[in-house]
Symmetry: C6
Subunit: 83 residues, 6 copies
């Protein structure tokens, strides 16, 4: 089994919740969610086998977006909503 | 496979969470959720095949609305609830 | 296929999150959730076919209530909890 | 079909989110969740048929508690957490 | 059928959301979640039959933890996060 | 059956929600979620049998990440988002 590279296991990429723009904040939300997946399941082959399993299934895809929504709530609050 | 157009991959369409009205805020919540779906699954054919899969199924439809609810919580807070 | 009427597609009926009472706030939460369903699935026949599918199934009914709970969190905060 | 009684369709029983104690607040959270169920599905026979369906199934029971948790978040905030 | 004892039906054990420590706050979150389960399903035999059903199933176990997470959000806010 | 070690049953490892960095906060979110799992299901053999069950299944893995997202919301707020 191949382990995902170390940078894919950083829990908060960049080390901060503060971003310049909402666009960057949303990208960070996705990166945080993704790297928690990697930390719970660091085997590359299993992750790659699971990708079509969720990306082609509406229910799983919606569940993945929901996680991003929750992460984004945190990041948006951290940035005072970039007001 | 056809990739969704670039504008469908903008994570926060318009680049801001601030809107004039609650109606626009809700529309933004839907757009943000939708474009995260596109980013996780950018293949147009898979998205189009998945549409009847969720839009005709009550459980998946409810799950999709729940994501919009979460995005709207963030956007409403950003706009001080348009008070 | 019949499309739901235009008023069923207003994302935030009344155009505001502010209500006189908690009762009206809860009704608004339900209306917002419902109209997002309509917007994601505007075909009346599909909606009508889906109604018994969820209203007679405990799991789907609970999921629908959960969406209302989330919308109500937003509306209650908007109204300073009608304190 | 028998319709649930009118008082079971009041969306916010008592008309306020403010309670004397956390215990009463939690009871209100349950009442609000329950009456939204009634409003989405007002037929008594369907509700009674659905009760064993969820109360004897761990997954549905947990989902029902989750709705109560969300309602309680709102009510607790409304009451400044009864501090 | 045996009914769970009365103390297992107290919705907010101790009658307050305020605790001395995060550890106690987390234990309270679990107790609140558990007693809401008891209130929705007070029959001891059904609860005992349901226990292996969820504790041995990863999906149900994760759903149970999620409820605790939501209760803990409320309790942590009530305690100003024990800062 | 073997019971998980005592330290795996501490509900809030370290006894505080305050951390130096977002990275540590995210790790704490994972530890809190994990130890609640242990508390609900302290039998090591069942936990070990359940691990492949969730870590190789996209839906369960996403659900696990969602719990971490919720815990992280609490911890991030506790730390004023490490601003």
């Amino acid at each position: 089994m191949t382990r995902v590279p170390d940078e894919a296991l950083v829990l908060v990429p960049g080390g901060t919740l503060i971003t310049e723009t909402p666009e960057e904040g949303r990208a960070l939300a996705m990166a945080i969610a993704r790297n928690t997946v990697h930390t719970l399941q660091p085997e590359l082959e299993v992750l790659q086998a699971g990708r079509p399993q969720y990306a082609g299934d509406a229910a799983k895809l919606i569940a993945a977006v929901q996680v991003v929504s929750l992460e984004f709530q945190t990041i948006a609050a951290a940035n005072h909503y970039w007001r």
